[in-house]
């Protein structure tokens, strides 16, 4: 049965259901993994399985990874993704590489939950996306749920998955709501969600940008343009088939990525399409991203920084109206 719950609640529910199902699931992080409040209550509900940590991200993220190689399924919380710089080695040189370096004789089922994104006036060190960095690293899986439904199903999948997963929760989504089944369910990785069908232009958007793309699609519709909106849900693995099929059909692509513009997912998807679906392309590929700057603090600037529906509309119109 589905009810309307928040993104935050959906994440909590996923954790609770998985912890109840599987004893090996443990949770760790600062303040008993209490960052965005999704783990509230878990500490008492699952005694001994929710571990507070000192502010020592290398040590406790590394510990989660080490424990994962020995039969636990740890979910470690890196409160803000921006803090990855103090523990990145454990993630990209250890967890991500074990399996390959060790010739297949290792699995590291660890999940790192972390909060990303702009919009809360949290300034340059607490507003980054950074998932392109994790996507760049072979051996990591990267998840960017765009709604409560996605959040629950993808988190359960992440916990059951036998590879290291970076689970990226957008801070501006915690209080958004949506229909979520009460029962446990998984959403497979590497399967995009076609949020909306349309034949004129394909819009691929990630995380919070999915809602922005939908808003743009509404606006475009009133202009007579039918946009297909695709939410890849995971950036690694990436569902290339769904994206390519859509572009084969529409001939036009706009990619919306809240991450910094260089070597990000917008370039990644653009390049994929320019290579694999060139024959179908009828217009330049547009990318809607922030400028190549840190995230500014002032609301006046941050609102200009974040990609919005208007920019997506403009990009979509430009590709639809394009004539060689």
């Amino acid at each position: 049965m589905a009810r309307t719950i928040s993104y935050r609640q959906a994440i909590t529910e996923a954790l609770v259901q998985e912890m109840a199902r599987d004893e090996s699931v443990i949770v760790m992080g600062e303040d008993n993994a209490g960052g965005p409040g999704v783990t509230k209550g878990l500490f008492h509900e699952f005694p001994g399985r929710v571990l507070g940590t000192p502010i020592s991200e290398s040590a406790f993220v590394g510990a989660a990874i080490g424990a994962a190689t020995r039969g636990q399924r740890p979910v470690a919380e890196l409160v803000f993704i921006d803090f990855m710089g103090v523990c990145f080695d454990q993630i990209f040189n250890q967890a991500a590489k074990f399996r390959y370096m060790f010739g297949g004789n290792a699995s590291t089922p660890v999940v790192i939950r972390t909060m990303y994104g702009a919009g809360l006036r949290a300034a340059a060190q607490h507003s980054q996306c950074l998932y392109p960095i994790f996507t760049h690293v072979p051996g990591l899986k990267v998840v960017v749920p765009s709604s409560p439904y996605e959040a629950k199903g993808l988190l359960i999948q992440a916990i059951r998955d036998d590879d290291p997963v970076i689970f990226c929760e957008h801070k501006a989504l915690y209080d958004t709501s949506g229909d979520v089944p009460e029962d446990s369910y998984t959403i497979p990785f590497g399967e995009a969600n076609v949020v909306r069908d349309g034949g004129d232009v394909t819009i691929v958007a990630f995380g919070r940008m999915v809602a922005v793309a939908e808003q743009a699609a509404d606006e475009l519709e009133s202009n007579g343009i039918e946009a297909e909106v695709i939410d890849p849900r995971t950036t690694s693995p990436l569902d290339t088939d769904t994206i390519l099929e859509s572009v084969e059909n529409t001939g036009r692509l706009v990619v919306v990525d809240e991450a910094s513009p260089r070597c990000n997912l917008a370039t990644d998807v653009s390049a994929l399409v320019a290579k694999e679906a060139f024959g179908a392309l009828r217009a330049p590929i547009e990318m809607v991203t922030p400028p190549h700057t840190p995230v500014p603090f002032s609301d006046a600037l941050e609102d200009l920084y974040i990609p919005d529906a208007q920019k997506v509309v403009n990009a979509a119109k430009a590709v639809v109206e394009y004539r060689r």
């Binding site: 303040d31 006036r121 607490h126 840190p294 603090f297 002032s298 609301d299 600037l301």
Partner: protein
């Protein structure tokens, strides 16, 4: 000495008044973002920075307003920054967690717990290379004392024999996590020996205690004697009722009591400072509110010196 005391009191009062006002304004929802207040810990920043001058650099923490004020950053520019205005210390691009003024040797509050100590090894190194006699001071919290960056910096400062001072502001908690739990040693200062430097513990509510310990450390550092770790302890008073906070746990009351009892400063002189500070803060807030926000033209500037 009277001047020094007056100045110290002014710094502490300014921090307190600034923070209390920010607290009020934040509650109205007009201040965006994350704000961490330094109120209660004024003796630390004031006691340490009283020894510093233009040769010296400091690094603050996410709880950085006090460090900024004590190092002489313009209070009005700070307030404007917190409001995200173009007239702010960082033209609205930084906000509370990133107020900085390099011209004053203030390297910035820091959004990263443990971000400052490595940087301060660098400013101390620069002072040493340039023979300025300058020192570097890294403030960090009890939580930050468990961060690898901080621990590495302690070792590096000793190995390089740097004029660096590490101020562990132990207020008992890192958010909800008690330092009695997260710090495996009894005191943060106990770690100093493992990194080859003296470790000192002082009462953080006592300006004079901080001032004295910092004075020794700064003198040693300027004289080539290497780094020091000072743990400034803000021991909480448990089981008290609100309003029942003893004077010994408030650095301002304690300071006033002591200097007036000793006849070093008169009540009315202190009151006069209070009044001046109150006006400054009032003006800072009204000017901040009236100031323009940055615009589209500011969005993409100041990323690189040249690109």
């Amino acid at each position: 000495m009277t001047d020094t005391l007056r100045e110290a009191y002014r710094v502490m009062r300014t921090i307190r008044a600034f923070e209390e006002r920010v607290h009020e304004e934040f509650a109205t929802g007009e201040i965006p973002g994350f704000v961490h207040l330094y109120a209660g810990e004024e003796a630390s920043a004031a006691g340490v920075c009283a020894h510093l001058d233009d040769r010296d650099a400091i690094a603050g923490t996410h709880r950085g307003h006090g460090h900024c004020i004590a190092k002489g950053v313009d209070v009005k520019a700070m307030m404007a920054e917190i409001y995200g205005r173009k007239t702010g210390s960082c033209h609205g691009k930084g906000g509370s967690m990133h107020i900085a003024d390099l011209s004053k040797g203030m390297l910035g509050a820091n959004g990263i717990v443990g971000g400052g100590p490595p940087l301060i090894c660098g400013t101390a190194l620069a002072a040493k290379q340039q023979h300025t006699g300058g020192v570097g001071v890294a403030f960090f919290g009890d939580g930050a004392g468990n961060q690898g960056t901080t621990l590495e910096a302690l070792n590096l400062a000793s190995v390089w024999d740097l004029p660096a001072i590490f101020i562990a502001e132990n207020n008992g908690y890192a958010e909800a996590t008690a330092s009695s739990w997260s710090v495996a040693s009894d005191n943060i200062a106990d770690r100093a020996a493992g990194f080859g430097m003296p470790g000192v513990i002082v009462d953080g509510f006592d300006f004079f205690a901080v001032h004295e310990a910092a004075g020794e450390a700064v003198e040693r550092a300027r004289g080539g004697g290497g780094p020091t770790l000072i743990e400034v302890k803000f021991t909480r008073y448990h089981g008290h009722f609100e309003g029942d906070r003893p004077a010994s746990l408030d650095c301002l009351t304690r300071f006033r009591d002591r200097v007036t009892e000793a006849g070093e400063l008169a009540e009315h002189a202190l009151d006069a400072i209070d009044a001046e500070v109150a006006k400054l803060i009032e003006d800072a807030v009204s000017e901040a509110k009236a100031a323009p926000k940055p615009t589209k033209d500011d969005l993409e500037t100041d990323v690189y010196v040249s690109y």
